[in-house]
Symmetry: C2
């Protein structure tokens, strides 16, 4: 008898909770979302995997009936296979951050042809074909450069700057254009620019080269937090004290922690957040549970992270 | 005794539900969000109020500790007062769809100066000052025109079209530019363009005028569902049978229902959804509960609503 009362009460409580938590609609809606991201083979993508898994848990707890499957892939071929598998398993939506968008265009189009909602994150095909996606969520590469340039111009108006670029691809050029536009007409002078390939080790080598070439450097702009680590090591090893500060970019926990702590060498960071995968997932889920329009194009700000606002961007458990 | 068991069980069930539904973090986070929107004084804004209230309920049910206050204002002066009241009451975020953005710039900046997160919806200041907002969510006015133009060009390549414009303000011009670009180089011919002021009655009058001036009209593009109602009345009254179809815009329930039902006069609609207020609210809430980046600029697609996809855009209970 006791058991029956308990059972009844629990059933009633659960029914009420479910009805309230998701309104009748959501409680009955079963949705499966596939999230396909690159393997955690370097800093930023490790952050992407971390946030995809973190937000998947949050969303599944908020929505009974929601299933999110996160899959990682080391390259485009393996990611194309994942898309095929997910489609066969049966998904209502795909959230994809492509390892490399161009070779994956056909695989993504094949998913979309099955009337599966497609959210594309960060990397669009180079012909900018909008038909591959329902929703596009991306960072702002031009602003990543211009926000850094504005900071340098404002805080060190006569700075001599060395620039460590990424790889010679369009994303890097757009960032350089943003930086150049911001410092145009100012007294900020760029001493040299070299490619560091978004690699910690390469940035270390490039910085060593810069240090031996230029006796006086005020600022290093390396547009990436992983490269900023290599830059710091090179400066430390050379025991140089002329460099006032380094600006990286993205928002790694290591750099955000330094900003929070008031590290003079890392006074700010510029956001290009791997957590955007989570934003993309939240909107994709809203498409099914909240009946709001989400199809569109969403560009994240390259927010300047300072000591004042850093807490909101700090993930102590993230690998990046 | 029975009561005590009931009480205990309910408490346990509630505690579990809370922990699961919001993770420990969300359950303890108290957040108040003010939503300030125009009064429901015509179709589209009535839709905005409806969706703001609908999504507020959904979000409060999903997040224990979340309070959303929706306030409507008939004009900029009253809306500025609402912003002051909300700030005094104490809010963590403001979601605002301004009645008129320019006279409200200072009032919005005063809110932001209190470190309150500001989400701006649909209407930006004419100088496009990005510093008034953390997040901007808007429709795509150019695409509202170009999607309609593409449809006309594809489905009625030799159409003679009459165009009913809105008010002589930039939004209207951008829509016209989109339409013109889409039909450039085609055989589609625009017979005439007149302002209908986004009003049902004015559109009725303009359409009467067109009907008496032009003996043969194939298509009416009036870029707004309210005006489409006036256009239909004029056509019906004149007993004209030459008009093949009308393209409105926005996504009112009345027009979406016609699209769903296969009404030949309203084969499609182009989305400029009042429900975008709900999208803006979901992202604002995510900023506090899910630790994902949401600062940025989000442009909703002007999705072509057809018989196939109309269900997802239909709100039978909405006043618009």
């Amino acid at each position: 008898m006791k058991k029956t009362i308990l059972g009844l009460v629990l059933a009633a409580a659960t029914a009420t909770a479910t009805a309230v938590a998701g309104m009748a609609h959501a409680a009955e809606t079963h949705v499966t979302i596939g999230v396909s991201v690159p393997a955690a083979d370097h800093g930023w993508t490790a952050g992407v995997v971390y946030h995809a898994e973190r937000v998947a848990k949050l969303l599944m707890a908020e929505h009974p009936g929601l299933k999110i499957i996160v899959k990682t892939s080391p390259n485009a071929t393996s990611q194309a296979n994942v898309l095929e598998d997910l489609t066969t398993e049966g998904i209502n939506a795909l959230v994809i951050l492509p390892t490399d968008p161009d070779p994956l265009v056909n695989a993504i189009k094949a998913v979309k042809a099955q009337h599966i909602f497609v959210t594309l994150v960060d990397r669009a095909p180079s012909d900018n074909d909008q038909s591959v996606r329902d929703l596009y969520v991306a960072g702002n590469n031009r602003a990543l450069g211009s926000v850094a340039g504005e900071y340098v111009k404002t805080h060190t108006p006569d700075a001599k700057v060395v620039v460590i670029r990424g790889l010679p691809i369009p994303i890097d050029q757009v960032r350089q254009d943003g930086f150049n536009a911001a410092i145009t007409g100012s007294n900020v002078k760029v001493l040299g620019r070299e490619y560091g390939n978004w690699s910690r080790d390469d940035a270390f080598n490039v910085m060593q080269d810069f240090l031996s070439k230029f006796p006086k450097i005020d600022v290093v702009w390396c547009q990436d937090d992983d490269m900023a680590v290599g830059v710091q090591q090179a400066i430390k090893q050379a025991k140089r004290t002329d460099i006032k500060y380094i600006i990286g970019g993205a928002g790694s926990s290591e750099m955000i922690k330094k900003v929070m702590g008031g590290d003079k060498m890392i006074p700010v960071d510029v956001l290009y957040p791997p957590a955007m995968i989570g934003t993309a997932m939240i909107l994709t889920v809203a498409n099914f549970y909240d009946q709001v329009p989400v199809r569109g194009s969403y560009t994240m700000d390259a927010t300047l992270v300072t000591k004042q606002n850093a807490t909101g961007y700090y993930f102590p458990d993230s690998p990046y």
